[in-house]
Each structure stands twice: as C-alpha cells, then as structure tokens.
C-alpha cells in the first residue's frame, strides 16, 4: 500500500474531486467506445473474482454504478451527427446491467462463506446495487432487444462509418451482447439450487468460452473514452478495509477455464461453486444424500458382502440358505445381521464428516488445503479405529454363518472342504485406510506444489512418499485379491450347486482360495514392511479378463497409485544418486556448524502429522537414511533402477490413458484427468532423458571407479580368506564345509560385510561409515541441482547445471 497515493489513501483529500464535472452516462458513444468500455468492465469483473475489492475493480465503472441513470426514452434512432444513442441506451445499458447481475449471482454464492473472506475474495458491496432484484427474464429480453436493435439500426450505421473494419466491429459488438447473455444464463444455471440446471449450463459455458476467445481477438478494436472509469471511487465508498495494491488482470485470464490442481490456482469463485455442487444441505451433486454416496463409495471400493446393504428387515442370506429360514440358528444369524446393519448405518454416519471434509478441501485454495489436510489425516485415523470394530463385528457374524453352513452340510465332504477356506475380510478398515493413505500422499505432494521444500529436504519427502505409496499399492492389491477371491468362491459355490443339482460327479481342481495375503486374519493395515528401495518396479499386468470384471474401481485406483509410486520411487532414486555424488546434501549449511538443532528433529517435525498414526508405521529418520543408501549401490546403478521405475510408471499411465472417461469415472473432470496423466508421462520421459545425461557426469564416473577399486579389494580379501579356509581344511580334519556362495537370488538381503564377501556378483560401495567425504572423494567440481517443475507441480524433473550459470 502506498500511503499518499491519491488512489489508495482513503483519508486524503483530492482538491478537485468535488468540483469535477460528473461523467455523462447519457452521452452518445461510438461502437468502438462501447467495445472498450465493456472489455474494461469485464477486466474489472475478473480482477474482482481473483480476490480484489469491488470498489477497486467493477465499481470503478461509472456505467456499472449508474446504469439506471441511462434514459430509455431518448429516441434510439435519431442521429444528429454522431452515432445513434441506441449504442448507449440499448446495447451498452443491457450489457452493463447483465454483467452486474451476473456478478450479483456470484456475490450471492460467495456470501455462503465457503471461501475465506479477505484471503480469497472480497464481498463488500459498499451498499451499491448490483441489480439483484432485476428479473432474469427481463434482462434476457433486454439483451435480445439489443441484438435486434443492432440488426436494424446499429449495423447499418457501422457499415456506413467504419469502412473496411465494419464487419469486424459489428461482430465485436454482437459478441459482447452474446457474451453477456450466455455468462448470465450459465451463472444462473450453475448456481440453481440442487444443481437442477447443471446440465443446461454446460453448453452455455462452452459458448461463453468460445465467445471469450473472440472477445480477446477483437479487444484491439476498442477505443478509449475518457473518464468512463473512476479509479478513485474507492474513497467515496467509505470502508474500513485498507485497499490493496492492485494490478488489473488481462482479458486472457478467463476464470471459466481454471479448475482443479492447475496453475495459476483456480479462482475462488469456481472453487466455491465446486463446493456447493459437491455438498449442499447434506446432498451431494444436487440429488443424492451424502450417506448414500458414502455407501456407494465404500461399496465400489471394497465390495463388501451384499447383505450388509440390504434394506429389508428380513435379511436374505444371499439366497444361500433358503431352506433353513425357520431354524433357530438361522433366526439368530438374521438377528445378528440386522444388528450389524444398524452398526453399519452408524458407521456411515460417522464416515460422513471425513468424507465431506475431504471433498470440500478440493475446493479450497491450495495453501489452506495443505493445512487442513493435516487435520483430515486425523479424521480418517479415527474412523479407521471405528472401522476396526466394524470388521471385528463382521468376523463374528461370518464365523456364525460359517459354522451353521458347516453344520448344515455335514456329511457332504466336498462342500465342507471348499468352505473352510474363506478369508476374513476387512472391508471397513480397508476403505478408511485407503482414504487415509491418499490424504497423506496428497498432503506431502501439495507441499511441492506450494514450494515448501528446500533442496535438502526433497529426498526425505519423496522417500517418505515412496513408503506411503508402497503401502497404498500393496493395500489396494490386497483389496483386489480379496474381491477376486470372493468372486471366485461365489462362482464355485454356484457351480457346485448346479453340479449337485445335476447330481453329476465333479472333477474340479481344488485351488486354494485363501492365497490372498490377508488370509489368516492379518489386518490389511497392519504394519506391513515397506518395499526395499532397490527392487523391481511394481508391475501391473491386467489381463483382458480381469479388466472386464466389475472390480474396475479398485483396479484403476491401484493402477494410478502404482504409477505414482513408480514415479515417486524414480524421483527418490535420482535424489539418492545425486546425494551420493555430493551434489545434494541432506543437511542445511549452518545447521550443524552452529548446533542450532539437529536434522532428526527437523525430520520429525516435517512429518509430525504422521507420528501418531496406527498405520502406516512412522518411517524413522535412521530408516530413511538407510533407504537413501540404496543397498550401497553406486550412483550409476541407482540411476539405472530409477530409469526402470520411470519406464514402468509411463507404461501404466499410458494404459490408463486408454480408458474412456466413463470407465475411469471422470466424466465431470475428464480434461483435468487426462492432463494430469499427460503431465506425469512427461515427467517420466523428461526424467529418463536427464538420467541418460546424469550417468555421464564426471562425479558419477569417479564414484564408479572408486567402487570398482573397492570391489577389487573385496575380491582379493575374499580370495585370501578362501585360501586360509582351504589351508585350514587341509590341516585340520574336522574343517567345516564352506557355505555355498552361489545363492541363486542375486539382489536384496546383503548387508553384513561377511555376507557380502560371499556375493561376488554384486560390486557395491563401502559401508556408509567407511565412505570418504565428497570433498575427499571427488576431483570434479560441484554442480547445481536444478529442479524443473514445469511438467508437473508434484514431481520435478531433475538435472545438473554447472555452477558458473
């Protein structure tokens, strides 16, 4: 804020203000003036939408403030010498009022307080009318009238006076009328209660967008008219809000286009609409109660047994036990099922808050998203505790059912055999855990988008993210296999029944169905160990048959998470390779030298939101450092692995690209979805190009040489040891037989020095404690690490640059 700037300082007296003649809104204007005025009003509107005060934007237009002073009764056709007054009192007036009304609708929306006042948006109207009560129908009629007037009177005048430009000027004027009309209607439809008009708005928005593009092109035809905008109006509209320094936006920054995780971050207005659309009065997308949506999401994700959702009071046990309805055991099972349905309804109620809060976050500004996500992680954690009780309850019932079925089918050896293998499902924990993991990933990656991380932190962030996504991918695979297993059992059961009915002799192969990892009652969110950093990329090989299954939702989620996992792992490995060559440090320069605090504290604080979670287990600082070591591989080896991960990520992303919007369930945001996939693919491609360059870097080569020298020493030592061994054996008759050194599996599990000496196939660096410091090790100069975020805001493409740059 510049004090004493006459525009800004509300307390300052400008001498001539009172005496200045008021702008004449009834003067006749040329069509080119009209273009200029409307464009500048639109610029004001957009600047307001981007978060500035009305008094500094829209209200600077004298026409907006005083449209009602424009007299209708002047004869719109008579021309003395200048242009007909209809340009003013028919066309301009209609457009101005329509724009103001559009803004009034937006204002209503913003008043719902779904975005943060001041931070996002300023709704102070200073008591100025925005023609709120003007009926929509008369407004549309006015605009149609304006169009009509243009055809009859405006166009001939322009043809007579604008020479070669005539047709361009005519289109410019008519486009502005059209733009005002479609914007108004679209806004009205978008904001209609319960999204009843949402479908109608889509074509309007499309026209508005095309129209905006034409507006941009014809913008140059405009000719300024003095004093039509009063930038000191702010002082008149007395306010206690200090004005902000303001830079007016340009026409090209159209707010209709921006949405979702895009840069520049979407304007507050679309975000607020998105929220209303998502969640208004317990109704999502305008028509469905939240609980219904929550149930559906659970059902789609983990596919629990159908009876849980059944509404009738008498539960049919999936038609499995029709003959024993009357038996007391069956009755007690039905009672238990009903009891469980009540529990389920209660659970859905409890799930509503985390679910809705998570959805609403998407409509907030990115900075706040991240802060709120910290709380949301906790909400899912709490829900997961409740989910555990749900699953336990379910297990009890399933055991009852199982026992009963067993009793029923006693004597029938074969069905007995197949039924005892049903694994315990963990539907509710599975779902809550899935949501929690997703929120955690989102939170960490948003930090990149917000530029929160310093270069020394990136390996921590992507290292942690890698662990979370690894847990997530495994989790979804497990969910998938449980669903598949259940389907398979279901199919078999039916088949068996059919066979039994036909009384045929069966010759079925008895494939164990409990080969799923969660069999044996292990909770899916239990502290499963994380994947080793250096391992093969997680592959997804969906068969055609699998694709067709009704398990599409989990499968797509799984594929997406796996792609992100591989992308994240690749990024982490590149960071690890650069750390080993001393280009990246894990410690800020003065941290250690001044003993200000230690890196471990910093690390713990950075991931504070994850400390107290029951799962996934907190990745400790030493564990992170160990992962960063990458099994003591040298940088070039690490980069080779990284390249594999990027390649694999790209494959699954390209796979996802082939899905239709309906299959991927992204019909409402298809473009954003496709753009995101494309951006991730670009990261993969970009990274692999850079990796090829990095592998030829001088320090990488120095490190490779160092490793090879070390390896020769290790081999020699090993040889010497073998020799000693042999000698001992020759001397002493009771020499132990040496262990076979040829373990078939090459990678993993070789940390201890002795063990390593038995594994000559794998040259590695000395243990961390024996590594010389980068300054001792490298002769080649340091280079700067450059993080390029232009492909994706969540994953950088990393390269090296000479320090001289």
């Amino acid at each position: 804020m510049k004090i004493m700037d006459p525009k800004m300082d509300t307390g300052m007296i400008v001498d001539d203000y009172a005496t200045r003649p008021q702008y004449d809104v009834n003067q006749s204007i040329r069509p080119r003036n009209l273009v200029w005025i409307i464009d500048n009003i639109l610029v004001g509107q957009m600047t307001w939408l981007s978060g500035h005060a009305l008094s500094q934007t829209l209200f600077t237009s004298c026409y907006i403030l005083r449209a009602m002073e424009i007299k209708d009764d002047q004869d719109a056709t008579t021309t003395s010498s200048g242009p007909p007054i209809g340009f003013t009192n028919v066309v301009l007036k209609a457009c101005v009022i329509a724009i103001a009304k559009t803004c009034a609708l937006i204002w209503e929306e913003m008043r719902k307080g779904q975005v943060y006042e001041e931070e996002d948006f300023m709704t102070n109207k200073f008591g100025v009318s925005m023609y709120e009560s003007f009926p929509l129908s008369s407004m549309v009629a006015m605009l149609d009238q304006a169009n009509h007037w243009m055809d009859r009177t405006g166009t001939p005048w322009i043809v007579a006076h604008e020479g070669d430009d005539a047709s361009a000027v005519i289109s410019a004027v008519k486009d502005r009328i059209l733009h005002a009309r479609v914007s108004l209607l679209a806004m009205y439809q978008v904001l209609s209660p319960k999204c009843s008009q949402f479908q109608n708005a889509i074509p309007q928005l499309k026209v508005a967008r095309e129209c905006t593009e034409r507006l941009q092109e014809s913008n140059i035809l405009g000719v300024e008219i003095t004093d039509a905008f009063d930038h000191s109006i702010h002082r008149k509209l007395v306010t206690n809000t200090p004005p902000r320094a303001i830079a007016l936006l340009t026409l090209s920054e159209n707010f209709f286009i921006q949405f979702g995780a895009q840069k520049p971050s979407p304007g507050a207005f679309p975000r607020s609409v998105l929220q209303t659309v998502l969640y208004d009065d317990n109704v999502i997308m305008g028509s469905r109660p939240v609980t219904e949506v929550v149930i559906e999401v659970i059902r789609e994700t983990v596919q629990p047994l159908p009876w849980i959702f059944e509404q009738d009071s008498v539960v049919q046990a999936s038609g499995q036990l029709p003959t024993i309805q009357e038996s007391p055991e069956a009755e007690s099972i039905n009672a238990a099922k009903r009891q469980f349905q009540l529990m389920f309804a209660d659970f859905v109620d409890k799930a509503t808050k985390p679910f809705v809060d998570t959805l609403q976050i998407m409509a907030q500004n990115v900075a706040r998203q991240r802060r709120n996500l910290r709380k949301i992680v906790q909400l899912w954690e709490t829900l997961q505790e409740q989910a555990e009780m749900m699953d336990e309850g379910l297990h009890m019932i399933l055991t009852q059912i199982h026992d009963l079925e067993k009793a029923e089918s006693a004597g029938d050896e074969e069905s007995e055999e197949q039924q005892e293998e049903a694994p315990q499902p963990f539907y509710f924990v599975s779902w809550s855990y899935h949501m929690k993991l997703w929120v955690m990933e989102w939170m960490l990656l948003l930090g990149s988008e917000l530029e929160l991380y310093s270069s020394f932190e990136f390996s921590m962030i992507y290292g942690y993210c890698d662990v979370i996504m690894g847990a997530h991918a495994r989790h979804l695979r497990r969910v998938q296999s449980v669903i598949d297993g259940e389907m398979e059992r279901e199919r078999k059961k039916n088949q068996d029944k059919a066979n039994a009915a036909k009384k045929k002799k069966k010759k079925k192969k008895k494939k164990p169905v409990n080969a799923t990892p969660s069999a044996g009652g292990e909770s899916p969110s239990s502290t499963a160990p994380s994947t080793p950093v250096i391992s093969e990329p997680t592959l997804i090989t969906p068969t055609v048959e699998q694709q067709k299954k009704a398990t599409q939702v989990v499968r797509i989620q799984q594929q997406l998470v796996t792609a992100r996992l591989n992308l994240t792992r690749g990024t982490f490995l590149v960071l690890a390779a650069l750390t080993k060559t001393g280009y990246l440090s894990t410690t800020p320069a003065h941290l250690a030298s001044h003993g200000l605090n230690d890196l471990e504290t910093l690390y713990k604080q950075r991931f504070k939101a994850f400390h107290h979670l029951s799962s996934p287990e907190f990745l400790s600082f030493p564990a992170y450092l160990e992962r960063l070591e990458c099994d003591r591989l040298d940088s070039i080896d690490i980069l080779d692995y990284a390249a594999e991960f990027f390649k694999e990520a790209r494959k699954s992303l390209e796979d996802l690209q082939t899905l239709s919007a309906a299959e991927a369930r992204v019909t409402l945001c298809e473009n954003a979805w496709r753009n995101d996939l494309m951006s991730m693919i670009r990261v993969c491609i970009g990274s692999n190009v850079r990796i090829a360059g990095l592998k030829m870097d001088a320090r990488m080569i120095e490190l490779r040489r160092f490793r090879d020298e070390y390896f020769v020493q290790v081999l020699r030592a090993r040889q010497a040891q073998k020799l000693r061994h042999l000698q001992k054996k020759l001397q002493g008759p009771k020499g132990k037989k040496p262990k076979s050194a040829s373990s078939g599996e090459s990678s993993s599990s070789s940390y201890a020095l002795e063990q390593e000496q038995e594994d000559p196939l794998r040259p590695v660096l000395p243990p961390p404690g024996q590594m010389p410091s980068p300054s001792e090790l490298f002769k080649s100069p340091r280079k700067n690490v450059v993080f390029d975020w232009k492909y994706h805001l969540w994953w950088p493409v990393i390269e090296l640059q000479d320090t001289t740059h």
């Binding site: 310093s454 994380s530 320069a589 003065h590 605090n597």
Partner: protein, 185 residues
C-alpha cells in the same frame, strides 16, 4: 548494555561493525529509518514500541563503528504460543542496509537473536516472509528453518507468505520404537 562486539573479520574490506543489544529509544530513529527502506509493510512507531518495550533483550543492532549509524537490525518477541506450554519466538523484523549486504551481517544478527531466544527458553522460532524473498529465505534455510506453511495472500499487497520455522529442541514426544525393516518384502 552491549551484548557483544564482534571482531570477526569479514572477507572483503569492511568498516568495523559492532553488534549491540537494544538499550533505549535513542536507537529507535536509526532502526526505523533502516527498516522503512527495506520491508514491504510499513510499521507505525507503536509497532516498534510494542516489541522493544516488552522484549528489549531480544533485539539487536549492527552499527558501523566509524560512522556510528545503524546498518542492521533484528527485532523479536517471545511468548507462549496460544494456550499451549510451547514457547514460541518470533522474528518480527530483520534488515541490513543495502551497501552492507552479503557479508554475513544478517546471519550474525539472526544467530544472536536465536541464541538469546533459546536462552530464554524458546521451543521454536517462527517468522513470515514474502514467498518471493529469495535472500531472506535462503538465509533462514541455511540455519535449519523450514517452510512450515504457505499463507495465501498474507500481505496487504495480495502476495503469499511463507511461515518459516526453526525447532529449537528435540521433540519430546515418543516415537514408535521399532523401525520399518527396509530390506524385507
């Protein structure tokens, strides 16, 4: 009372600099003149007094000894954060005169302030800075500050800010003791 006179020799020829603690209002004019030149938000004299009167020991000046002018200043606060038992230090202002920059004067002032706040029991130290202020961010990051949050449109001019944070004490909270075995599948 002066907290200490630095005799450390800077790499380039530099007039001798004295680092002194805040003593009284006679230093105020010089401090204000310096800060007004450099910070994006103007402060009234009451803002200065708010800090200097309550926490005089947490503010320091860098003086050009020969000219006897203030060429660097840091102003801080320390109190309990919200209702918690956490003691939070806050760096309200930091500035170094243009001709004297890039000579570790800023870093020295920050280190002195951190030291004094830690002595006074600070658990953490925070500050806000415009997200575009590369030099300040780089300076703080070298000392182990992290960007804890981004504050959307924090300043009157509509620019975002970063909240930077330094943790002074190892976390008291207990972490799960067993680690994740990374080599096992």
């Amino acid at each position: 009372m002066s907290t200490g006179t630095s005799t450390s020799t800077p790499p380039t020829p530099l007039p001798p600099i004295d680092y002194v603690g805040y003593e009284s209002e006679h230093q105020l004019a010089g401090m204000m003149a310096l800060i007004e030149n450099d910070l994006s938000e103007p402060y009234s004299i009451y803002t200065y007094r708010y800090f200097l009167h309550q926490w005089p020991k947490l503010s320091f000046l860098a003086m050009d000894r020969e000219k006897n002018v203030c060429i660097g200043v840091i102003v801080c606060r320390l109190d309990f954060h919200g209702h918690s038992k956490l003691k939070r230090g806050y760096i309200a202002m930091l500035a170094v005169s243009k001709e004297y920059r890039k000579r570790k004067i800023g870093s020295t002032l920050v280190l002195m302030a951190i030291e004094s706040m830690k002595t006074a029991g600070a658990d953490e130290i925070v500050l806000e800075t415009e997200y575009t202020n590369q030099s300040a961010i780089a300076l703080y990051q070298q000392m182990g500050f992290i960007k804890d949050k981004r504050l959307y449109r924090y300043y009157l001019n509509g620019v975002d800010a970063f909240r930077l944070k330094l943790f002074c004490k190892p976390e008291a909270q207990e972490l799960p003791t067993d680690e994740v075995p990374i080599m096992s599948q």
